[in-house]
Amino acid sequence: MDGEIEAPPVAARATELEAQAALFAELADGFARTLNLDATLRTALLRIAAHLDAEAASIFFLEDDDRILRCRDCVGPVDIRGLRIDARYGIVGRAVREKSCLMVRDVRAHPDFAASVDAGTGFETRSLLCAPLLLADECLGAVECINKRSADGLFGSRDQYLLSMFASAAAMAVRNARTTVALVERDRIRRELHLAREIQERLLPDPDTGLPVAGLNLAADGVSGDFFDFQPVGAHHCYFSIGDVSGKGMNAALLMAQTCGLLRCLARSIDDPSELLARVNREIFQTATRGMFVTVVVGLLDLQSGEVRLANAGHPPALLHRRSGAWEVLECDAPPLGIEPDLACPTRQLALADGALYLYSDGLLEARLKGRPLGLDGLSHWLELVAAEPLGLRLPRLVECLRNNGAYWSDDLTVLVLEAPR
């Protein structure tokens, strides 16, 4: 391996202290500027080994919940990169556990010396200097120098001091490199969430269909587990749906997309909401994992008669607001999709007449106003206040009113409103 250790370029007139300071400045500068930690570690190991006149040097990182010390790089006659040592044993293990720099002048006499490593490599370790890679709150591993070549073959306190300084600079560089990797990963996840949200928004229906339906979806945090949909079916019907997938994040977003897509596709050929839910339930039951489920309302609005047929599986009750001011609460009739292999969710029939039908996700019921959840009474109160708004403006106006009055929510918020065609 390319581990030749060269003599340090110390200027003839420089004092030893100046040489140490120069070396440390050079190493610290290299660590601070590096974009390639491995290359910088390699250069730094060569420099420190040369400066301490060591036969070999290596750097170990803690892995597997700090149980294992693995050699990340080394310089010297034997290549031990990738070597794994149980962190409970050996001199390196002790330096890490005790968080102190150990200087061992005769390793054979030391109780912690792991002779098996030498036995495996054929290298003979005589003296050793080992410093932990310490940060304020944790130890990342250790760096060690082996077999001083000059004089009596023993490391001294000057060497100990230099290696400790080196270890501090290296620990910071390792931390920086890991933070950079974490930031890049976070940025990648953020980009993917953004793309997923874009796809979700494309799943929402075109608001300008001319159908007497309007919907609104506000994602609380990136991607949404809620959906709503409405599409013309045949010449005289409008299919509509609203749903909420349990849980949050990407798995909820994927299940949301699957459910929304299945319903929209099958609604073209199945005109009974009960049967539609039974069919989609079977698919969701097969694919949903970790107890995930979907609460959903699907229905068909007859654009000529104003008659609605709907089925509600586990979703909050639909609210029917009559022009007279009366409210009807239409509770759900079956548990959510994805829990049982078979779902019997009856179809309800109702005449929309001159009323408006509101469907919404539980995020709206749980929105907090004056410290309390909005609930059904609160929701119907605020819906009454915006009831005179034209259909297309009513839901944004509802959200605006709630916000202006200090309401807040942490969940996705989705609402759908239908009226009979005029």
Binding site: G247, G314, C332
Partner: protein
């Protein structure tokens, strides 16, 4: 909430939940329930002290219920608090989970 408290009598584990069962702890609840079922124990989930349960908490119960059925083990909710029961009722989940009213797990 605090960690779920599990008591094992022969092959029957009672897992007691308390406080808010939401995203912050539903994973812990899930692990506790699944571990008992995988060990071959019937499970009663005691919910007397549950002050709130969100959909992630319900999903943990659903997953345990589904696994119990697959393994042929008994799984039931006992002494469900009014707060939790109202959430389960709203979504008709009271029709899915076996719910016992007595502390001995018999309804």
């Amino acid at each position: 909430m605090t960690t779920p408290q599990t008591t094992l009598v022969e092959d029957h584990a009672t897992v007691a939940l308390e406080g808010d069962i939401d995203l912050s702890c539903s994973q812990t609840v899930r692990s506790a329930l699944l571990a008992q079922l995988r060990a071959g124990h019937a499970v009663s989930v005691r919910m007397a002290a549950v002050s709130y349960i969100d959909s992630s908490g319900v999903a943990s119960l659903v997953e345990a219920y589904q696994l119990a059925r697959k393994l042929g083990l008994d799984f039931q909710l006992t002494e469900v608090s009014e707060a939790a029961l109202s959430v389960l009722r709203l979504a008709r989940l009271d029709r899915v989970f076996p719910i016992a009213t007595g502390s001995d797990g018999k309804g």
